[in-house]
Amino acid sequence: MAATRPHIIVDDLRAGWGSRVLMEHVSFNVERGTTFAILGGSGSGKSTLLRFLIGLEKPQAGRIDIDGVGEPHRYHGVPPFGVLFQSGALFSSLTLAENLSLPLTMWTPIRGPMVRDLVQAKLDLVGLGPFADHLPGEISGGMKKRAGIARAMMLEPELLFFDEPSAGLDPITAVELDDLIVTLSRDLGITVVIVTHELPSIFLVANTCIVLDKKAKGIVASGNPHRLRDESTIPFVHNFFARSSPDISAIPGR
């Protein structure tokens, strides 16, 4: 079988504003159908990198190429990928069903009961079936994120971006959300790019990851998260993953 083209190619990207360089020499590939995690501490530029990947910012140098889209910041037309923003970013004056039907009525000729069916199926998929007529203000934070995922999937994208999906959620809700992400990528074959610093979810969902560091202004390590944890000799990467270790005796002072 011929090797398939990577879904996303990032080649020597430099990101920043004016003379301030946030990260440079960032290169990585995301293979089709995999779950790819962008890791790093606070302020390492994870979310900024995501803004570049979804085309909200223009790279200072280098190139981002998404299969079938080209350079994301030049793309116009039917959104080729779904994005879950950190807070869910639901429109607060619309019910969940209205939030979800918005992309359908905007980009497809589908109208009427068919819209309702598709919206309901997506809400059921993320476990929010009974809440179709609720306003975002009436549901919990975890439910808002799940509704955000459902909205991001309305146009049946082959690529989903998640910005800190489990941030601010309790461990149980976070695991539920991780399970949902695994379901999406395994059963629907969707490529998932996830920005996070929650170690448990990294090990649960990600096939491949990159680790960003503020000081290094770029990628310090990449590969399978389990292997990085066990084999990396880079102090920053080692420390980053060691935090998830249940072995608390490793923490100095104990």
Binding site: F91, A121, D133, M153, E156, L188
Partner: protein, 374 residues
């Protein structure tokens, strides 16, 4: 290949063969094809749904086929997915079949006109009570602000005076100048018919100093700062900043409302006074421009008419109008609940209510001054 569904019937056994692309782009065609084929298998005891000829199936197509399976199931047709040659499609359809809520969908009923009139009327007493609560709370806060000055954000006051007062000077000044010109023109055209143009300066002074100066300035400020203050506080409310203030032990009325109302009370009389002066200029320009009244005579007549009582009648109202604007705007802001749309609705209400209350209060003062003979 086009999206189609073939139906074959053999006694009690039937089979449905969806073919072609079943995806979001073809969702309507898929639904139509199914609606045509479905009646032909009605009554069958077992139905095979053969996925071998489905070309491209995504979530939308899977939903359409999943709902078909559901209907066949409830119709007693015992549907069976033939999935040998397309296991991914079968898995997707199964996913949408298993993840289905049991709760029946109730589309929200549209509220009728009568219903809306009724619910609006029923909510009026509560709205009035809330408004009185807020005014009461504010009144009690004033002595607290003086006794414990630390609970008020005094440091914001200079900025507020700048935003509400200095930044508004151009627009309130222009409005007053134009109103002065209008009174001038009106006076010349009406009084001129009786040869009484010499009374125009007096008309400008009396009309503007006593009534219009305070009113015009307050309306402009209500539109400008009323919207600004209401939307600022409403946004703070919906983003939980007000709750955060409360949790830190701050009273939002002391911390936010008192300085805003005070800033309004300070600047509105000043804006009114500047507006009065500009209206005199407007009246002067209009009158000397279209009549042959000598400028010196106009100025002398104006100076003769200006009395302390005319000036004070206007200026004394201003702080009350300012307070009304501040209370309405801040009260509406604090009463916001919900999201972005609620901020917009409350801001609109704040502007409408503050302009209306400015007019009502002005009318009450006029009545009072007439009764007192001032």
């Amino acid at each position: 290949m086009n999206t189609a569904v073939r139906a074959e019937r053999d006694g009690d056994h039937a089979s449905l063969v969806p073919a072609g692309p079943f995806d979001l782009a073809h969702a309507d065609e898929a639904k139509r094809a199914i609606d045509e084929a479905e009646p032909r298998v009605r009554g069958a005891r077992s139905v095979d749904v053969d996925l071998a000829e489905v070309e491209h199936l995504d979530g939308a197509g899977a939903v359409v086929l999943a709902r078909l399976m559901d209907r066949l199931d409830t119709g007693g047709a015992h549907p069976h997915l033939v999935e040998e040659r397309n296991p991914e499609a079968a898995r997707l359809i199964a996913l949408y079949r298993t993840r289905q809520s049991k709760a029946p969908q109730q589309p929200p009923g549209a509220t009728g006109l009568l219903e809306r009139i009724g619910s609006t009327t029923a909510s009026l007493p509560q709205a009035a009570r809330d408004a009185l609560d807020f005014i009461g709370h504010f009144t009690l806060s004033v002595p607290k602000a003086i006794t414990s000055p630390g609970s008020v954000n005094w440091r914001s006051l200079p900025m507020l005076v700048q935003n509400i007062g200095a930044d508004a000077l151009v627009v309130t000044g222009a409005a007053n100048l134009l109103v002065g010109i209008i009174i001038g023109f009106l006076g010349v055209s009406q009084l001129g018919r009786f040869g009484a143009v010499t009374y125009v300066p007096e008309l400008v002074v009396v009309a503007h100093f006593r009534e219009l100066g305070a009113l015009v300035t307050a309306i402009v400020v209500a539109g400008r700062s009323g919207a600004g203050l209401a939307s600022e506080i409403a946004t703070m409310k919906v983003s939980e900043e007000i709750d955060a203030l409360r949790s830190l032990g701050f009273d939002p009325i002391l911390w936010l409302v008192i300085p805003r109302c005070l800033a309004l009370v300070i600047v509105l009389p000043i804006l009114t006074w500047v507006g009065d002066v500009l209206a005199l200029v407007g009246g002067f320009v209009a009158t000397t421009g279209i009549t042959d009244m000598p400028p010196r005579a106009y100025i002398a007549a104006t100076a003769r008419t200006i009395t302390a009582s005319h000036l004070m009648v206007g200026l004394i109202k201003s702080p009350f109008l300012a307070l009304a604007i501040g209370l309405v705007a801040c009260g509406q802001g604090l009463a916001t609940y919900g999201g972005a749309a609620a901020v917009g609705a409350r801001t609109t209400t704040a502007v409408v209510l503050s302009i209306f209350s400015v007019i009502v209060i002005n009318a009450l003062f006029t009545l009072l001054f007439v009764l007192l003979g001032i």
